[in-house]
């Protein structure tokens, strides 16, 4: 658990928004991208590119995210 508290926010994962783990907070991912369902029924980002928004669970504003997901670790194994 201490590992998540200290490094959890930097754990590689597929999400397009950052995670917020720290010693004092166990909050996970912090946002979403908005999409539209295609005629096939699958969800795809509006305009073809992911526009992500982040916010908190309190009164904080909803902001456009500038988060860039780090590359996947080699072979998808934990490093």
């Amino acid at each position: 658990m201490e590992a998540i508290d200290s490094k959890g926010a930097t754990f590689a994962n597929s999400a397009l928004v950052p995670a917020g783990y720290s010693k004092t907070s166990h909050v996970g991912l912090t946002g979403y991208w908005v999409g539209k369902y295609a005629p096939t029924g699958d969800l795809a980002p509006i305009g073809g590119t992911y526009v992500t928004y982040t916010t908190d669970s309190g009164s904080g504003a909803v902001v456009k995210s500038t988060y860039k997901r780090p590359a996947m670790p080699a072979k998808g194994l934990p490093n």
Binding site: G28, L29, G35, L77
Partner: protein, 349 residues
């Protein structure tokens, strides 16, 4: 003489026994519960059967698929990760019973991705993993409360909270549907109250709000919900419920020719799951949806490609959907947590 011999023997046995006890009390290498020299055991509770299991029952297969891949590639420092899965049918009392089994009988190191707000809450109060020091990694619910490290010291959220989702939905509504009549379907528990809190912060006013009791989300009930939305002349209808509720709504709407602008919450918004219940894909067309992870059909994304390849090999014939992606993503994060916990991971580290 004989009596003396017997006494000596008894004493010797007692001494040996005491020494034995003392020795076993000294922590050996990897003495943590659920961790041996060759393996790490994790446990999961979620609905595998019953009304709410729709879609979510693919999660264990997904997580196992990743762990199998991990184990075939060296595991965590040579330890193989195993996952014990128990069906709680989305009933909190069963989640409590099954979690007790996992901790006491199966002796798992940590709980992984237990599903459902009410279930995780019931487990937190009745089983109290925090007092036992059992980590509850990456709960499969977006209830904002679980991020509170003081109240739930061993529980870790992973999904963005329902409040965040409602706030972002609210922002989108303000930018795109200003002046429209908005309707909301939500679950009548913490899951829903989180959503209501988020919409309130975002300043969304609803023309009509329809709560439903968890477990009542059938097609027959949905006919009533739709009648309400129709009567309130809602232009945009937000479905903030589990998959079975979304499916019941969309399926019944198709039968009743009801076509508002749909907006689906991420919990019940997985297209594959919805289509599986016989809802025609066309009903979903143009609905607004939200997700923290890439589109499951986006094969240009390295993670989606990687996970879907593993899943296709592990569970042939099963569609790669949002539940699978999130399940594998959670397993992937758990693997990193275990790895980061050092050569001999403990519950604390």
């Amino acid at each position: 003489m004989k009596a003396l011999q017997r006494r000596t023997l008894l004493t010797a046995t007692a001494v040996l026994a005491t020494v034995g006890l003392a020795v076993s009390a000294i922590p050996a290498q990897a003495a943590e519960v659920g961790v041996t020299a060759t393996g790490i055991k994790l446990g999961m509770t979620l609905p595998m059967t019953g009304t709410a299991s729709l879609g979510y029952n693919k999660i264990p297969g997904a997580a196992k698929a990743y762990f199998d891949y991990l184990n075939a590639n060296g595991g965590i420092n040579g330890r193989k990760v195993t996952l014990v899965v128990k069906d709680d049918r989305y009933v909190p009392t069963e989640a409590v019973a099954k979690t007790n089994e996992l901790i006491l009988k199966d002796k798992v190191m940590a709980l992984l991705a237990p599903l459902g707000t009410a279930n995780v809450k019931a487990v937190a109060t009745s089983v109290n993993p925090a007092r036992r020091g059992v980590p509850v990694l990456f709960v499969n619910t977006g209830f904002s409360g679980f991020a509170d490290a003081k109240k739930y010291p061993t529980t870790y959220a992973v999904l963005p909270s329902y409040i965040m989702e409602a706030k972002i939905m609210g922002q989108y509504i303000k930018e795109n549907f200003a002046g429209k009549k908005i309707g909301l379907l939500y679950q009548d528990d913490d899951f829903g109250s989180d959503a209501l809190a988020g919409f309130k912060t975002a300043g969304v006013n609803f023309a009509v709000k329809v709560p439903y009791a968890s477990g009542s989300q059938g097609a027959a009930a949905a006919a009533g919900w739709i009648t309400k939305f129709k009567a309130a002349e809602a232009d945009v209808v937000i479905l903030f419920g589990v998959s079975s509720a979304t499916s019941a709504m969309l399926g019944t709407a198709a039968q009743l020719g009801y076509k508002p602008q749909w907006m689906l919450g991420s919990v019940g918004g997985d297209a594959t799951t919805i289509k599986l219940t016989g809802v025609p894909a066309g009903v979903l067309y143009n609905a607004i949806g939200f997700s923290p992870v890439p589109a499951t059909t986006d094969m240009t994304d390295e993670y989606v490609k990687f996970f879907s390849d593993i899943y296709a090999k592990a569970v042939p014939g099963s569609a790669f959907d949002l539940n699978v992606l999130l399940g594998m993503n959670t397993a992937f994060m758990a693997a990193q947590a275990l790895k980061a916990a050092g050569p001999n991971p403990t519950r604390k580290s």
